[in-house]
């Protein structure tokens, strides 16, 4: 069922040889096929920042230095440093966080998917003998994962989803434990698979919205957005991309590099040139760290102002986000969420009296978003709450 419904696009494609998107390259890549360089987590930077750095290829000099220093470093060190509440699992010789970090090393694998896979392996290696025990064990594992980085929304949401997934399967109650466990495992893997495929689905869903001759503004680096643009380029669409620089991580530079490899015309903007360039732009594409209950998104700093500018100039703002980023959060304003802090390199020494805003994310309310492209389909912001309500209530 879920296989069918969640990835209906892909299935259609396979089954019907759908001409719109058939492309050998567009098949989902298996996790191992990734050719991206692996990165080591850097223990000394805040988790959130570290995650982003690892996934987005942040290239600050600071990071480079640390990354080099960390080469060959033992990821277990990082884990032990960071894992405050590994607790029982670790005592049993198995660390969720460890597992998670292993998964996370695959650069194309989203954090949430890594978490889901890690949790699945918790089930696998669990020695629990009853459903209840297993549940408790899972709960502990997911709590430790969540506390490993409290600022990561997709990690939290992914863990919650998985837990929901386990507790929701009421039918399991009627079976004996072993078969229940194997079913759980099976589904956990499917879930991981689907989450993994989400990006492809989103890329395909969004193709209709990219028309020839359009100009797309993207902010920062988002793997989903890159996938969308890559697919569009593979489909021979003619379009132009404006990349913001994405200070301070300069993640936009990486995106522009990737796009240039695809022969997509790219123009780099400094972050403050957004309003200036907006009248040339036909649509704004952003990724999201998390999609919240209101239908708004939490994303890299600067998204909110881009959305504001786009709204005032009547440009559509499209969000590409996998469904595991849906979180039961409801920020009312910018300060109403857990801040994710990161260091900012200004290039010159900053006097200690000068305060620096180090938040890495902002919240964009739903009225500034036009549509969300998710693996569940194209959604208006109002659907997000619907989905979350159905799932959690």
């Amino acid at each position: 069922m879920w296989y069918r419904s969640a990835s209906f696009i892909l299935d259609r494609q396979h089954q019907q040889q759908n001409d719109t998107v058939t492309n050998p390259d567009s098949r989902p890549l298996s996790p191992s096929s990734s050719a991206m360089a692996t990165e080591n987590p850097n223990p000394s930077i805040s988790m959130y920042y570290q995650t982003r750095a690892a996934h987005h290829g942040v290239v600050t000099s600071d990071w480079l230095a640390q990354a080099q220093a960390a080469v060959g470093g033992n990821s277990d060190d990082a884990v032990s440093d960071n894992c405050v509440s590994g607790g029982d699992e670790e005592c049993k010789g198995f660390s969720v966080v460890d597992e998670f970090n292993n998964w996370r090393k695959q650069p194309d694998l989203a954090e949430a998917v890594a978490a889901i896979r890690a949790l699945a392996s918790v089930i696998r290696s669990s020695q629990a003998t009853t459903m209840m025990e297993l549940e408790i064990e899972l709960k502990k594992a997911s709590d430790s994962l969540k506390s490993w980085d409290t600022t990561s929304i997709s990690l939290t949401a992914g863990c919650d989803l998985f837990m929901r997934y386990v507790t929701r399967t009421s039918a399991l109650e009627y079976e004996d434990f072993n078969s229940a466990k194997s079913r759980l495992l099976e589904r956990a893997e499917k879930f991981g698979e689907i989450s993994y495929k989400a990006r492809r689905i989103i890329a395909m869903l969004s193709q209709d919205f990219i028309f020839d001759g359009c100009t797309i503004l993207v902010h920062g680096f988002s793997r989903v957005v890159l996938e969308v643009l890559r697919t569009a380029a593979q489909n021979k669409k003619l379009f132009r991309v404006f990349c913001t620089e994405g200070r301070p991580d300069r993640t936009g530079l990486r995106l522009s590099n990737e796009l240039a490899k695809l022969d997509v015309p790219v123009k780099l903007l400094i972050d403050s040139a957004v309003a200036y360039s907006m009248d040339e732009v036909d649509m704004v594409f952003v990724g999201a760290d998390g999609v919240v209950e209101s239908g708004g998104i939490i994303n890299m700093m600067g998204t909110y102002q881009i959305a504001l500018v786009a709204k005032s100039m009547n440009k559509p703002v499209y969000v590409a986000a996998e469904s595991y980023k849906f979180a039961r959060l409801y920020p009312l304003d910018q300060k109403d969420m857990v801040p994710a802090l990161r260091p900012i390199d200004f290039g010159v020494p900053i006097p200690s009296k000068v305060e620096v805003e180090t938040s890495a994310r902002d919240y964009t309310p739903p009225q500034y978003l036009t549509l969300l492209f998710t693996d569940l389909g194209v959604l208006t912001p109002s659907v997000v709450s619907d989905e979350l309500i159905q799932l959690y209530l």
Partner: protein
């Protein structure tokens, strides 16, 4: 079969020549055509539903291609496909549960008249429900517990039929077609009565001494206003004439004939008059999945003016106008350019038409689009046969009436 084919072809030609206009009549004709098509379709013993769906899709594709901007065609095709899936599922569910086959099990579908509680294994019912639902977080999580017991009935083709108990096979074969045709009949019924259902709600929205503005002509709006009038509400109506078709003239005349105080204004006076208007009530050509509206040309302007003056902009639309597509570049892709002769007299301007700019391209262009796209943020309320809805809720109605698989099909066939 041949006569059905010829009927299809005839209808395709009509659509192509734009002989059929108006989403309601188009929807009705399409549904009727599909009904006769289905009734004449011979079904194989196995995988009936799949075969039927494929056949309907093939026809639907043709029809949609004949007039891609008449979204009602695609809507009805999708509705019928959805009906087939639904019937198939309910049959399967019933069969699996060892129950009588009578019921449509969809507790989610408002279209179907009676929801017999399905007594069979809850798991199967849940599976059936999920099959018709678009993907959601929930369906991601819910799986069919016993795949061995209940074959994945809904999967893409409905090949479940073959796997269901052989004893039921014959009866089910007939049953499916019969049920589908019955459901399509209900669909036709629903299309033709949607006016009344919408009009019934008029009293809730129109009060005494209101001033209502509308543009062009819409049967639904007419019924709506008259229903309020019959309830002894006295109000005035401004009718913008709706150039270049000027259907507003006939519309106004009919309204006046029914005893409503009617004022005809030119389209250009909409902004001037809107400040004295309490409500804008218009019909739609199609309602898109994001709550945007494809409407007769000029309505975007009216909606903007209404927004400026905080006048509620109410769109009346039968459910058959709900289109599960998300609009991208709707002004262009979902539009249609009509003949320039509606704007300019060729005789008068024949001399201008020949003048070239030297590059060979003519100097004079005439643009006469048929539709406008009204974005969802300009719409305050949709009134459909199922009640009033926010633009942000349209996605849900669409999820109720269409199945996700067909969206893709449609996309394919539309392109």
């Amino acid at each position: 079969m041949p006569d059905v084919q010829s009927m299809v072809n005839e209808f395709v030609i009509k659509l192509k020549k734009r002989k059929v206009e108006g989403s309601k009549s188009t929807a009705k004709l399409t549904a009727e055509l599909l009904r006769s098509f289905i009734s004449q379709q011979r079904l194989p013993h196995s995988n009936q539903a799949g075969a039927l769906i494929d056949a309907v899709k093939a026809v639907g594709e043709k029809l949609i291609a004949a007039n891609p901007v008449e979204l009602a065609v695609g809507n009805v095709v999708r509705r019928v496909l959805h009906i087939i899936r639904e019937e198939d599922l309910s049959l399967t569910t019933a069969a699996v549960g060892g129950l009588s086959l009578a019921a449509e099990s969809d507790d989610e579908n408002d279209t179907e008249q009676d929801d017999h509680p399905v007594l069979s294994a809850t798991a199967v019912a849940a599976a059936a429900r999920n099959a018709l639902r678009p993907p959601s977080l929930q369906t991601l999580l819910e799986d069919i517990p016993h795949s061995a017991v209940a074959p994945p009935t809904s999967s893409s083709g409905g090949d479940s039929e073959g796997k269901s108990k052989s004893a039921d096979k014959n009866s089910m074969t007939r049953k499916l077609k019969h049920n589908v045709i019955e459901a399509v009949n209900e669909l036709i019924q629903e299309i033709s009565t949607c006016h009344e259902q919408i009009a019934e709600q008029a009293v809730e929205h129109i009060h005494h001494n209101e001033v209502i503005l509308t543009l062009g002509s819409s049967r639904t709006v007419m019924e709506f206003l008259c229903a309020a009038k019959e309830k002894k509400r006295s109000f005035r109506v401004f009718v913008a004439e709706g150039a270049p078709r000027y259907q507003g003239h006939a519309f106004a005349k009919e309204l006046a004939g029914r005893g409503l105080q009617t004022t005809v204004i030119t389209d250009s006076a909409v902004f001037a008059m809107i400040s004295r208007v309490n409500m804008v009530i218009v019909g739609a050509h199609a309602v898109m999945a994001n709550g945007g509206v494809i409407a007769p040309v000029g309505l975007n302007m009216v909606a903007l003016a209404a927004q400026r003056h905080a006048v509620p902009f109410v769109v009346l639309a039968g459910v058959h106008k709900l289109c599960p597509l998300y609009p991208h570049n709707p002004e262009v892709l979902l539009n249609e350019l009509k003949s320039p002769s509606e704007l300019l007299d060729f005789g008068e301007f024949s001399d201008c038409l020949d003048v070239g700019s030297g590059t060979g391209s003519p100097l004079l262009h005439v643009v006469n689009p048929a539709f406008d796209y009204v974005p969802p943020n300009l719409v305050n309320l949709f009134i459909t046969d199922t009640g009033g809805h926010n633009p942000s809720y349209i996605y849900r109605l669409i999820a109720d009436y269409y199945s996700a698989d067909d969206l893709v099909v449609r996309r394919k066939s539309a392109s």
